[in-house]
């Protein structure tokens, strides 16, 4: 494991996350959001779960980012208006971060070296998915269909007007 690579990736992720969170321009924020997910995928690669990384890229960068961008397009009319930025959110976020860090630091069992592990192959994931996780897979399938149909109905414009 190369810490350097990891630090780079971590820095990338956090900077783009911050950009997505704070960038006043909507479109830039959305794009930095997408890039951030690329960075996250990279960190997954580093952690040895390529498949998840790829899926992450595939789903987020491929679909969600596009969706977000399209939504921004569809709601462009008031996008330009300058939006306030309430600082209480920031305060809370920092507080929570401090809390979490404290928790992590406190629990000694966490600081452990990565265990030697043979690469996770897609075949193993396939077997697991189709084996003991077949039921969740079906549920997620149903969930996704339902969600998408729901989203469609929400958004579809009634042609009869």
């Amino acid at each position: 494991m190369n810490t350097i690579a990891f630090t780079i990736v971590a820095i990338f992720t956090l900077t783009f996350a911050l950009a997505a969170a704070t960038n006043p321009r909507l479109m830039h924020a959305a794009l930095s959001f997408a890039v951030m997910f690329l960075a996250i995928a990279a960190s997954f690669f580093l952690l040895g779960a390529e498949f998840v990384g790829l899926v992450q890229v595939f789903v987020y960068v491929g679909a969600v980012a596009v969706l977000i961008v399209f939504t921004i397009l569809l709601t462009r009319r008031d996008a330009e208006k300058a939006r306030g930025f309430n600082w209480s959110g920031v305060v809370i976020a920092i507080a929570v971060f401090a809390g979490l860090v404290w928790a992590i630091m406190k629990s000694a069992s966490v600081s452990v070296a990565p265990s030697v592990i043979k690469a996770l192959t897609v075949k193993q994931i396939g077997v697991a998915l189709m084996g003991s996780y077949v039921w969740p897979l079906l549920c997620v399938g149903v969930l996704l269909t339902a969600a998408l149909i729901g989203a469609l109905i929400l958004v579809i414009e009634d042609k009869r007007q």
């Binding site: 809370i92 507080a95 929570v96 809390g99 979490l100 404290w102 928790a103």
Partner: protein, 670 residues
Amino acid sequence: MSSWITHNVWLIPAMPIVVAVFILSIGKHARMTSAIFAVLGQVMALAVSIFAFAPTLHTHGFRVVENFTWFTFGDQHLRIGFVLDPLAAAMLVMISLVGLCIFVFSIGYMAEDKNFSRFFAYLSFFSGAMLGVVVANSLFLLFIFWELVGLASYLLIGFWIERPSAAAAAKKAFITTRVGDMGFFLGLLLLYHVTGTLVFYDNGGGALEPAALAKIGSSVTLVALLIFCGAVGKSGQFPLHVWLPDAMEGPTPVSALIHAATMVAAGVFLVARVYPIFAVGAINGVTPSLEVVVWIGVVTGLMAALIAVAQSDIKRILAYSTISQLGLMMVSLGVGGVAAGIMHLLAHGFFKALLFLGAGSVIHGLHHEQDIRKMGDLRHLMPVTFATYAVGMMALSGVPFFFSGAWTKEEILHATESWPRSHVPHYLMMIGVVLTALYMTRQIIYVFFGNSRGHANEARESPRVMTIPLIVLAVCAIAFSVVLTPAWPWLSCYLMGVPTFTDVHDPSRAIDLLLLLDPEFTFRILISLVLVGAGIGFGVWLYRRAGDVDPLQQKFPAPFRFLENKMWIDELYERTVIAISALAARISDWMDRNVWDGIVRGFGFIGQLFGAFTTDTDENVINAGVDETTGGARGFGRVMSRLHSGQIQIYLGAVALGMLALLLFYAWLT
């Protein structure tokens, strides 16, 4: 024909009652029809009685019983019935005959009265009830007729309801007799409890038959005495005699019928009828109950005779004389002379009715004047009344030979003489006889002899319709003595159900005149002659020049006043019994008003209290509490709603803070 009547004896009481109901129903104005019907009813009753009397002569110890079950109650059967035996038959004839004379007399006496028909209805109703008492074979049926007689006497005494004294007298009579009847009823119940049946003669099963008598056992005295209470009440014996003198408020025929001949006799008849119960366990003829009867009789007889001497009202004198005579009869029954008692009862019925009717005609003649001190020298103005009245007086005071009263009195004195317990009653009764003769002579002198006082001079002889019954009764008083003489003891044997002396030995010498000459018999007649002679002579001597004021009163004013006021017995009762009952009434009223009512009001109060308590708790505890909580809830609700500002980010911030808090808590824990 006659056998049919013996079995249907109930017809005799039924007829007068039916006539009474008929008279009441035809209304007030049919005066003469009601009178005729009443008399007719009485005549029918008399005829049937005579027909019933005839067959009883042939056999000794004749008794025909007609019983039936009135109603069954569970396993108890109430049997009642009618009986015909010498005692009943004799009484039937006497009552109906006397009744008839009184009916005829009262037609004249009550002529001007506006309630004429109602009077006759009550009279026939009374005579029916009296006849019923005589023929009843069950103590229960006898008790029923007994009560009807009581009711009839109440109605008749209080006939002139508009006069308050009459109403009070009726009420007094009814209540006093009721007291006696209570005792009678308890006796009846006890008898039923002990023997299981109330019928007198039920071919072996009856109460008066040996089987039941054996069963009575120890409580016989109690039963006898309780039944005797009824007799005391009805016949006006010592403790309960107070109502009789006041009963004179009623019209004179009423007094005659009820308070001379019949009703008062009912008590004596009852004792005679129920005699076997009294006689159970008699040791040579003496039982505790009979002793009580004797002493009650003696006391009553003597007391009444003394009071009669000091009375000034013509009817009150006769009333007290009746009480005295009844006492005498009770004594004769007590000492065992049942036949003598009954014979005296019959004789007394006749001559006492005669005296009362005579007094009635005197009063009628003097326009309702009753005080003898305002009468006098009436023998020339009312000769028939005077003659019949003299016959009655002679019979009552017991002048021997020709008059019925003498013979029966003779018999009674003979019976008391042979009473083993003590001779005191015998001597007291002799004094009684003397006193009777004394007050009767006083009365006759005051009324018919001496100088006329008051309005006596305007007296006129009563009309024929009144004098005929007087004459009939006078003849009866004299003729009756034929049967009563010991020479021909037919009646006593008939009554006792014993074959006469002669039948047994020598049927040919039915009448034994020689007996009269028997030395032992002549001695008894001599004694009675001496007693009566003393009484009359002392009376004539004492009252010959009597003025307005009674000579005895001049000599012994204190005792005279004592007697004149009826020995203060009324006042005694007034203070004691009535006072006590008034007090009891007041107490119960007080109790009811304060204690029970108090308790109820107390509960009510508690209820109110509880109600008040609940309302105000509800008011300020619960309501207030509820208001508070609702107010609090609304306040809290408002606070919470402000929290829900609709800002999503605030919610998310809250979530984050919550998580942080948890974290801190966790930190604090470890």
